[in-house]
Structure formats: C-alpha cells, structure tokens
Amino acid sequence: MRTIWQIALIMAFYGAGEFTARLTHAPLPASVIGLALILIALHRRWIKPGQLRDGAQGLLGRMLLFFVPAVPVLIEHREFVSMLGVRLMLAVAIGTVLVMVVTGAVVQMVARADD
C-alpha cells in the first residue's frame, strides 16, 4: 500500500512536470522536469528520500514491462523480415558496441585523472 502511495506521489511530480512543460513550452519531456522537481524537493528537504524510495523501486523494477507494448508494431512492418532487417540489426549491433567501448574508455581515463 505504501508503495502505491509513493508511486502516486512520483506521478504527481510527473504531472507537475507535464503542467510546467505545457505552461512554459519548454522543449523538455515532462519526465525530466518531474525528475528535476523531485531533486529540488529532496535538496530543500521538503520531502525525505524514504518517502519516495519504495515507489521509485516499484516503478524502476517494472521498467522492462513498460517497453513491451512498443515492440509488436513490427507486425505492421513485414518488410523488416528480410535482408533489410538483418542490415538494420547489424547497424544497431555494431553501433552499440562502438558506443560502449568509447564511453567506457573515456570515462575510465578521465575518472582516473579525477582520483
């Protein structure tokens, strides 16, 4: 029950983010404004991290589920079941490995300089 209330509180911050985005026409997603609002509220000690932690864990732990409804769109794109699909996956795979190698190496190098 506590988790549900905390999720509702996080969604209220998200709603405030949505409201702010509409009001100011800020080119930022509501989720990011909501995140910033929570950080401000925690920093100013308007709320304690303990008042959100279970709710945050509840949402973050279900994140993979939230991605599921995006994937079956592929049934409308039979053209991907072909060499085109293979080429696209190849581009995604090589690109992902490159990004991981570059990011990991750069952060490791600069972080060592930080220590």
Partner: protein
Amino acid sequence: MIDWAATALWSAITLASFAVTRAVHRRRPRWWLMPLITAPLGIALILLVFHVPYSTYRAGAGWLLWMLGPAVTAFAVPIYDQRAMIRRYWRSLLAGMITGSATSFISGWALAGVLGIDGPLRLSLLPRSVSTPFAMAISAEIGGMPDITAVFVIATGILGALLGEAAVKRGIPSGRTAQGAMIGVAAHAIGTAQVQPLNPRVGAVAGLAMVLTGLLNLALAPLALWFLRG
C-alpha cells in the same frame, strides 16, 4: 472515449505474457528467453492469429508505454542517493556522455550508409541510444519514424544490457563509474534496469547518464543532423 473492455483485455494479455516469460527466464536464464524478446513475440502471435491491427492493441495497452515517463522521473531517487559520487565524477561522466552520444550518432549515420539504409529509416536509427520518450521525440524532430525508432531503441537496449551485464560481472572497465556510464549512455533504461540489481552504484550512474544523455541528444539532435548532411 476509452474502450475499457479493450483496455482491460490488452493490458491483461501484456501483463500475463510478461509474467509468464519472466518466470520462464528465471528458470532458464538464456539471453533469447529475455522477457523483452519473448513477451512481444507472444503478443504479436496473438495479434496475427486473431487479425488484430497493432493500432487496436496499442490503444488498449499503450498506457503501459506511457508509464515510462513517470519511471524516468523516479530515477531522481537513486540519483539523489548517489549525489556525493556524482559530484566527484561529473567531469568524467560529462566527457563520456558527449563522446558516447557523438559516437552513437556518427556510427549510426555511417553504418546506415555502408549498409545501404537510407531515407527516414536512416534517420530513425540515429537516436537509438537514448531512452524511448527522448528517442521518439528526437526521431520525430529530425524526420525519422518514432514507432520504428522505439524498436531500434529496444534492440539497442537489449544488446547493451546483455553486453553490459557480462562486462560488469567481469569488471570491465575496472571503475564502477565507467561501467555505469557505459551502460547508461549506450543502453539507456533497459541496460540500467539489467545492472541495477548487480550493483547500486553502477545502477545510479547508469540512470543519471541515461537521463543526461537523453537531454544532451535532445538539445544536439538538430545540430548533429545539420552537420551530417553537410
């Protein structure tokens, strides 16, 4: 007008396929049994067998996808918990996010060129390393196809999550900050969710890197596109 019966039906099917595939994956932890691969496959089969168009399914189960927004907001809590570490390593994180995002855009563009992928499909490939709400916004802005970008985002996330998990378990790279940044920048929320249980610090860095990379990409996408087009 919301069709409550259809919403209940398609939501229940989505939740049930996720629960079943997750139980299967817990028993047999093979990569190809990941719920994010098998659950959509099951749903797609149901849609095909009963001749249901994707738009009908999406109208019913789309609110789950909408929940990604509040979930991104929830990353505020682990980010706040790790603020001391972030304050210490912000320089390296920023460097990693900038070079990682640049690599993502440039490699996406170049690989599509080499592999003969062009037009809106090529543009849809570019924002794949950032989380879905960001990526779909960027894709729309630069003339890609947001729905298709979402699929690339998820494919990228699955691959990055698997590689990232293997790397964290083997301690590559050796620093926890570098591991988190690598996963957050390359594999956004899917990678972050995968490594969160392994190490809270890696998870928090990944969450922060993911959110900031999304913002950075949103700001730089039009610029990057203009540059690539020459």
